[in-house]
């Protein structure tokens, strides 16, 4: 079986080598990268612009962004026909290729997030490591903990008032540099598509900007969702008065009021970026119809015909319009917020899907169509990784990582100045 043949159905005049080569993993790729960038921008809103209301979620978003960072390149790796050769991109980078820039941008971005995290949690590392160092007979668990945190301090144990001030400054600078790099990281993911001149749907300079805007939207939405879920869990623990949550001395009511306040504030920013994202996408659509170049006939038949449900009902309707109404209606409740952010996430995912799969839904002949049938039940490795299973695994990955990371970088109740 030829790559792509399992999930591609051809109709009318399609040339023999054409298949849906970029399947669900390439949908996941900009989706996950978008979440990284979005979560980082959200955290920077507080660190750089000092938007106080976002303080509580900023720390959270940064750690989450770090967890997402590890998941972002996974779709590409899973999609490669020769995954073990992926390192070739580093060994012979070919700078005319947008994908080759990935490694460079990705690692510089990763370095920024990692250093920002380090500065943010340095005090915490020291505070954990020092008492353990003093302790005489450590249990095995404490040994492991000691080694981990000792390493994390990187040999720097200075936590004087003065040095913490400097940390704060470093965080601010890093967050500042991070914003353009995060936007670049995702903007160039858009560039990967936007620069493919052979594809009539992708070929637009607006693509990177559209991608950045929806990336921020999705990142904020995911942070809100995870934040709510975590807070709900804490609420439950707090009401049972269970350790270690009880020791933070936060009552159920306190957590609740903080939670809804943060969510309300963040929702405003979500809406703000959502408006931008939608306007850009509509502008692109209108522009194509207005200029109506040669490819417009086939694009129109795909956009308004074959993909109508995916684009207008699922993406714009369910993914944009409904959450818009949910958030704009006064007296936002948590339940409404949860439904809203889930729909927003779904909408952004559908946007990626419609771009990546929709862009391959028509033949280069402009006279034929291809349908993508995502493999749901895998019967081999290929149909697993390029199907539902692969996509879901990628989506779950950052949550698991976040759970692990949160043990090292506690996201709540760290009594610190920044």
């Amino acid at each position: 079986m030829v790559h792509g043949e399992v999930w591609t159905l051809k109709e009318l005049f399609v040339t023999p080598n054409e298949y849906i080569y970029w399947s669900i993993q390439i949908v996941m790729y900009p989706f996950m990268t978008g979440l990284v960038a979005g979560a980082f921008v959200l955290s920077s809103l507080y660190h750089v612009f000092g938007i106080k209301e976002l303080k509580d979620i900023a720390r959270f978003a940064l750690v989450f962004s770090f967890a997402l960072l590890f998941a972002a390149p996974m779709p590409i790796v899973l999609h490669l026909q020769h995954p073990f050769r992926g390192i070739n991109v580093m060994m012979t980078p070919h700078f005319t290729s947008a994908i080759a820039a990935f490694g460079i941008v990705f690692f510089s971005y990763g370095a920024i997030v990692a250093s920002e995290l380090w500065f943010l949690y340095r005090k915490h590392f020291v505070e954990v490591a020092l008492p353990l160092k003093e302790k005489k007979d450590k249990t095995l668990l404490e040994w492991i903990k000691f080694v981990i945190f000792c390493t994390l301090t990187l040999g720097v144990y200075d936590i004087s008032e003065e040095s913490l001030k400097r940390d704060e400054k470093a965080i601010k600078i890093l967050a500042g540099i991070g914003i353009p790099v995060a936007c670049f990281l995702h903007g160039y993911a858009g560039f990967i598509f936007g620069s493919v001149k052979a594809n009539a749907l992708w070929m637009t300079p607006l693509m990177p900007v559209i991608f950045i805007m929806s990336a921020i939207v999705s990142g904020i939405a995911l942070c809100m969702l995870t934040y709510i879920v975590t807070m709900e869990l804490r609420k439950r623990f707090a009401s049972r008065n269970k350790a270690p949550y009880a020791m933070h001395h936060q009552s159920r009511e306190e957590i609740k009021s903080v939670e809804i306040h943060v969510i309300k504030m963040t929702a405003k920013y979500l809406l703000f970026f959502l408006i931008f994202a939608i306007s850009l996408e509509l502008l692109d659509l209108i522009f194509r119809g207005y200029t109506a170049v040669k490819s417009w006939d086939v694009l129109r038949s795909v956009i308004y015909g074959r993909d109508f449900t995916d684009i207008f009902i699922l993406q714009y309707g369910l993914g944009n319009l409904v959450p818009f109404i949910l958030f704009l209606t006064p007296w936002l409740t948590l339940r409404r917020a949860v439904i809203g952010v889930i729909l927003v996430l779904f909408g952004v995912f559908m946007m990626r899907y419609n771009v990546v799969i929709g862009g391959q839904a028509f033949s280069l002949t402009f006279a034929g169509y291809m349908h993508y049938h995502m493999p749901i039940i895998p019967h081999d490795w290929e149909t697993f990784k390029e199907g539902l299973g692969g996509a879901v695994s990628i989506f779950i990955m950052p949550f698991v990582l976040f759970w692990v990371f949160a043990k090292i970088f506690p996201v709540f109740n760290v009594k610190e100045s920044h």
């Binding site: 159905l9 493919v196 280069l364």
Partner: protein, 262 residues
């Protein structure tokens, strides 16, 4: 215990140190990092000429190519293929290329995909013809431009090749080619396409498809040689290329190219 400032300093130094060997490799030849373009100096520039008046859609070229270049015979991908175009008197266009026309066109029914076929009555046909397709060995190849590892590259004599040992299989080049000639090799799982039978032409032989065509519809030549029969036709007759609007400067020329051909 080192203090923080020193630690940062050392880190920066360390990273800079690590970066040096990397940079050294790159500085040696920055030109190599750019998409390689076929050289002006080379005495050879391979081009292809297809005479659509002569093609009857027998598919012998497709068969020969599959055998010559070890593309699994039954796989639904092919380095070269032949398209059939039928224009009806009502102005409707039908086209197909079942199995790339490997077995020729044995039925008059047009393959519409999804198991549907369209029978067109002889008296309804305004015109019908066959068009062979293959890699255009573009002068400005987007497939070379986008390859992140340089596995797709252009030789001095203008042929675009793929390094099977280096290709990571991302499929970016497949997306970037406006002619849909690229695919993944079902055995090697790397990007694959027509290479003008580079192993043959560089030894003075004809490509497998040119050799196999009983009607002389396919020709290969060197456009830098003014006495080459192919060059003479291209420079003196009216020939066309496919999809020139993409700026790829394709080097497969067609005699009798119809505007219906996509």
């Amino acid at each position: 215990m080192i203090n923080r400032r020193e630690f940062l300093k050392n880190t920066v130094k360390g990273i800079a140190g690590l970066a040096v060997p990397l940079a050294a490799i790159e500085i040696i030849n920055p030109g190599k990092l750019r998409a390689a373009k076929s050289s002006e100096k080379s005495k050879v520039r391979w081009v292809f000429l297809v005479d659509t008046y002569k093609c009857v859609g027998c598919g012998l070229c497709v068969k020969a190519c599959k055998n010559e270049n070890e593309i699994p015979y039954d796989a639904n991908v092919t380095r070269t293929w032949v398209e059939r175009y039928v224009l009806t008197k009502e102005g409707r266009l039908f086209a197909d290329s079942p199995k790339g026309a490997r077995d020729g066109f044995i039925t008059t029914k047009i393959d519409l995909g999804l198991g549907n076929y369209q029978d067109i009555k002889k008296e309804d046909i305004k015109k019908a013809f066959f068009v062979p397709k293959l890699c255009n060995q573009c002068e400005n190849p987007p497939c070379v431009q986008v390859c992140p590892v340089g596995a797709t590259y252009q030789t001095e004599d203008g042929v675009v090749l793929v390094d099977r040992k280096w290709c990571i299989g991302c499929g970016y080049c497949i997306m970037a080619c406006p002619y849909g000639v690229r695919f993944f090799h079902p055995v090697h799982h790397t990007a694959e396409k027509c290479n003008f039978c580079y192993h043959r032409i560089t030894k003075g032989m004809k490509t497998a498809c040119v050799q196999a065509c009983p009607f002389g519809a396919r020709m290969i030549g060197n456009i830098k040689d003014p006495n080459d029969p192919v060059t003479r036709i291209i420079t003196t007759e009216r020939v066309g290329v496919l999809k020139s609007e993409y700026g790829t400067k394709p080097q497969v020329y067609y005699i009798g190219l119809d505007e219906e051909v996509r």
